[in-house]
Symmetry: C2
Subunit: 199 residues, 2 copies
DNA sequence: TCTCCATCGAAACGGTACGTTCCGTTAAAT
DNA sequence: ATTTAACGGAACGTACCGTTTCGATGGAGA
């Protein structure tokens, strides 16, 4: 299970070896995928990458930093299409997010990151920053709908982002990412109806 | 910070010593309160309680089990009043939950438990059970509202519980339990409006 | 009353991971 | 040619894991 350590690399002189950095990131992702957060240790990553622990600590000051790096490296393939309907936009967003979290390492990585943020201050701050950016970004979905008259005045766009994130998080963190389309559809429909009526 | 270990207890014969059990639970709660999840270890709890580690492991098979025990021992002071208005019921529920999580150890304990569930299978199963029960319980709020005609037919009562929990969780896990009443009010109002319109 | 026995706190075990310090090697930078 | 910084590897001391062993305790059953 922890077999494939490639050939060890060497110093390439007085500068950072990008191969080592890549190998460490790859190994971190692989360990998270195969052993989950429970098996995610700096030592395991170092073994897997055939890297020295000092090399990891030189470039990533903490486990949280490595986690964040790996998470941000994940390819995002989330459906942010502007369909002209807020309900449809939200549905596609949630559905593609659930799928990505289910079918790629992203879900396990993000779960781990949220967990790490509960005990590590740096991870907590990074998560707060990240979520602030997500609220702003997803809020644009609502602003577009507002311009179309789908959302009542007085609705804070970031609130909707928060509802969607909360719905997604609780499913991720309790291993319930397998909700069917119908359930997700009903959820976003209720939110959309509420937003139309206004606060 | 870790000073107050009381006098060590002793065996009271061939039966469980309830004083030790209490001391261990008290110590676990105190460690979580003072040092958070990062400082929560079986050894720290044992030192604090002046108890032997085997005594802990004899009665709690894992850190997760102790966490769950401590969480369930928390006094619940959540407002489940039936006010005759779903919006008001939900508002009071969320407001009192936020307050309890902010002002008692319950918030830190539950955060820790959710984090533990991301790496411990037993904690994950216990959390799933617990949330299932919470969905059912909070769903009754919606069923009462349905009987009053405040909620459209076809709305799954547990869905609302999920929305409320998700909203609460994301605030707990990102250290944002200090939302003011107005924000919470707007949130539940949108949900209530959406539920009235139906899925 | 006397023996049995599950419990207690304490100490120590082997194992794992932490984060750090050395080491000899490498090759770019100067 | 010399200096400099990065590399992998090994070892360090610390902390916590979960378990075992120990002598002392005192209730339960013979």
């Amino acid at each position: 299970m922890e077999k494939p350590p490639e050939k060890a690399r060497r110093s390439i002189g007085a500068k950072r070896n990008p191969d080592s950095a890549d190998a460490i990131r790859d190994a971190a992702e692989a360990v998270l995928l195969e052993a989950g957060y429970a098996g995610f240790s700096i030592e395991a990553v170092a073994r897997r990458a055939r890297a020295g622990k000092p090399t990891i600590y030189r470039w990533w000051p903490s486990k949280a930093a490595l986690l964040l790096d790996v998470y941000q490296r994940q390819k995002r393939d989330i459906d942010y299409a502007d369909t002209g309907s807020l309900e449809e936009d939200m549905f596609r967003f949630l559905k593609s997010l659930f799928r990505q979290w289910r079918e790629t390492p992203a879900g396990n990585i993000f779960r781990s990151f949220v967990a790490e943020a509960q005990s590590d201050e740096a991870a907590s701050a990074a998560l707060a920053d990240y979520m602030k950016e997500r609220r702003a970004y997803n809020g644009r979905m609502v602003e577009r709908a507002k311009a179309r008259g789908e959302v009542a005045a007085g609705v804070d766009p970031t609130f909707v982002a928060e509802m969607l994130s909360g719905y997604a998080w609780i499913h991720l963190l309790t291993n319930r990412l397998d909700e069917d389309d119908e359930t997700i559809r009903k959820a976003v429909r209720i939110i959309a109806k509420g937003l139309l009526a206004g606060p």
